[in-house]
């Protein structure tokens, strides 16, 4: 695909009120052409509302939406040229697979022979060649998802919106589809805005992730940035599998947790602080003196749970906080496993030491 007509999207201070409830409280967002941006947030944070406003299904109470240089705030959905994949796919049950995919082409009065060609091509691109005549009711969840996708891309839209399109699928299929969506994105060069409340999914697929909370964007960053430099305790808690523990500030780049003093990679933010301890960044270590660039913590091992690829052990720190560590469950580790109730030391790389300000 050489010539792409995908556009950048700019949201300017979007608000949306339902009576006296504010679902969106001033959202601004800049998305480059061809970028894959996920909107991540807990239930009720306004993700769907935001997507509906970009799609033109609801009007914002204030603010503007731009596609490229054009202000589309008041443009109805049928004039916006966007492919939407709905949460439950919204395939037309009375039409066959091919007729569903042809719908946007027919709406644009495309000549019939062109329709046939493009439907066939769209079917091939989602690996459903030969399924054109099937009724929608006979398809599996993953196949429906792919039909919805084919229908959203067949008319070469300017933008693709997806609202939790994978949430109805089981884990294996979901992960396979995530990979497929990634490669499709690379192939089409499409601008994609993707709503999800699954942080792993957002991290897997996106160029950037916008984290929402109660109608606001709290942080927008690359997956790596979000993971290692969360702006506050909410983002740190939402991304990754972490336990937040309050810490005391003892220097510009140092905090105290219990009796241990931990070094941090960056200058600390003002205000109250807590550390986000991610189970997978904590490694068991012996009594040897700590190397430079390493923080150490001590605690008592509690329950150990087998979880397939890894074991999860709870660790009671000296200060009384309860955290979790993850130990790969292969047999090289079998000898080194600590016993429940024993005293252990764990180390944490300074770069993985994530200290964030606590928000009210």
């Amino acid at each position: 695909m050489t010539q792409s007509n995908f556009v950048p999207v700019r949201l300017q201070d979007i608000t949306k009120s339902y009576h006296d409830f504010q679902a969106l409280k001033g959202v601004s967002l800049d998305i480059a052409a061809g970028e894959f941006v996920s909107i991540l947030g807990p239930s009720g944070s306004g993700k769907t509302t935001l997507l509906q406003i970009i799609g033109g299904f609801t009007r914002p109470s204030a603010g503007r939406v731009f596609f490229g240089d054009a202000d589309v705030t008041l443009l109805p959905p049928q004039k916006r040229d966007i492919g939407v994949v709905f949460q439950n796919y919204a395939l037309f049950p009375h039409l066959s697979v091919a007729e569903n995919i042809a719908f946007p082409l027919r709406a644009r009065k495309t000549p019939p022979e062109r329709i046939q060609q493009r439907v066939a091509r769209a079917l091939r691109s989602v690996d459903l060649a030969g399924y054109g005549d099937r009724p929608i009711a006979n398809l599996s969840g993953g196949q429906r998802q792919r039909v919805a996708l084919a229908r959203a891309i067949v008319f070469e839209p300017r933008l693709i919106l997806m609202d939790e399109p994978l949430s109805a699928l089981d884990k294996n299929l979901r992960e396979a589809m995530q990979m497929e969506l990634r490669s499709l994105h690379a192939e089409l060069g499409a601008t994609i805005i993707y709503v999800t409340h699954d942080q792993r999914e957002a991290l897997t697929m996106s160029d950037r992730v916008a984290v929402m909370k109660a109608g606001r964007i709290v942080q927008i960053d690359t997956p790596r940035g979000l993971y290692s430099r969360p702006v506050n305790d909410f983002v740190a808690d939402f991304v990754g599998e972490s336990t937040l523990v309050p810490v005391e500030r003892v220097g510009v780049r140092a905090v105290r947790l219990g009796s241990a003093v931990l070094g941090c990679p960056r200058d600390l933010a003002p205000g109250q602080l807590c550390i986000a301890l991610q189970a997978e960044t904590l490694l068991l270590c012996g009594d040897e003196p700590a190397e430079p660039g390493t923080n150490c913590l001590e605690g008592t091992v509690g329950e150990i749970v087998f979880q397939g690829e890894s074991l999860k052990a709870s660790l009671a720190l000296q200060g009384g906080a309860e955290i979790a560590i993850r130990i790969p469950s292969h047999h090289f580790n079998a000898r080194a496993l600590p016993a429940s109730g024993s005293q252990v030391r764990v180390k944490l790389h300074v770069e993985d030491t994530v200290v964030v300000p606590v928000t009210a």
Partner: protein, 291 residues
């Protein structure tokens, strides 16, 4: 796998379950048998009797006398028009009720229900008052200078249509409302987002998905229309005779129970023929059982 006693036990349990269902079914079955099946049987019997012998004279008369044929044709024509007008008026109402917010939708449905609170007789007389030569419609139109001579709106075909459509619209609205409100909003949103204008989405998405309701409503209205008596009698001024009037005249004026029964049986057969034909063109189970 040859554990027969267990299989027997399962079969027995299944039979018992089926007997249970049958028991639930029984009251309705009795009611229908007693108050519909039996009278219909009697009607059929009566229509085949002349004096003390079996005969087809009553049916033969229907075929011989043009007045009978014309009445059947008129009845079907009136019913068809009323059905079409009820669709034209009912669809927008049902759609509005289905997409409106809760408060509005309740209001719309309540207003549609309202006519049920007055008897058909009262409503028909009310139409007579409204539509007469010096009635409210004519005087308003003349006062506005739109017409000079009063329109003849009562005691004719137009009046019959107006009166019947008024009675029938709710029967169209409710099945349509049920069908339309079941269509997920995302489907219509999807239709628009894919580039469909209002008409395209209506034609390709809304209408096909509302078809079960449209079909149910149309059948209901059409059948109820075929048996209408009061409204055409009062508003039609004796010019629009429906089959029901024919039956009534045969009974009351001429005491011809056999003839009346034959006329009624004939109507029943015509309806069955129509539905058989419709079913062949539009596979009903497919339309109704689509979702």
């Amino acid at each position: 796998m040859t554990d027969l006693p267990m299989e027997d036990a399962i079969t027995r349990a299944e039979r018992a379950e089926q007997r249970g269902y049958l028991l639930l079914f029984l009251p309705a079955l009795l009611l229908v048998g007693l108050f519909l099946g039996l009278p219909l049987g009697l009607l059929a019997f009566q229509s085949l009797r002349e004096g003390d012998a079996f005969s087809l004279v009553h049916y033969a008369r229907i075929f011989e006398e043009p007045i009978y044929w014309r009445t059947y044709a008129d009845t079907l024509r009136v019913s068809l028009w009323v059905t079409l007008l009820a669709i034209a008026l009912g669809f927008p109402l049902a759609y509005a009720a289905a997409i409106a917010s809760r408060g509005w939708s309740t209001l719309i449905l309540a207003l549609v229900m309202l006519p049920f609170w007055t008897s058909v007789l009262v409503r028909t007389y009310a139409w007579l008052v409204v539509l007469q030569r010096k009635g409210i419609v004519n005087s308003t139109l003349i006062a506005l200078g739109i017409i000079e001579q009063p329109l003849s709106l009562s005691h004719n075909y137009t009046a019959v249509l107006i009166g019947m459509v008024h009675v029938m619209v709710p029967f169209m609205v409710f099945p349509l409302y049920a069908a339309i409100s079941k269509i997920p909003a995302e489907l219509l949103q999807a239709g628009h987002s894919l580039g469909g204008g209002a008409f395209h989405v209506f034609r390709r998405v809304l209408l096909p998905l509302a078809l079960p309701g449209l079909f149910a409503g149309s059948v209901l209205v059409f059948i109820l229309c075929l048996g209408f008596y009061l409204t055409p009698e009062l508003l039609g001024g004796g010019k629009t005779i429906m089959v029901s009037s024919l039956v009534q005249r045969n009974v009351e004026l001429y005491l011809q129970f056999g003839a009346a029964s034959a006329v009624a049986m004939m109507l029943l057969m015509i309806v069955m023929l129509i539905f058989w034909g419709v079913d062949r063109i539009l596979p009903v189970e497919k339309i109704v059982g689509m979702r």
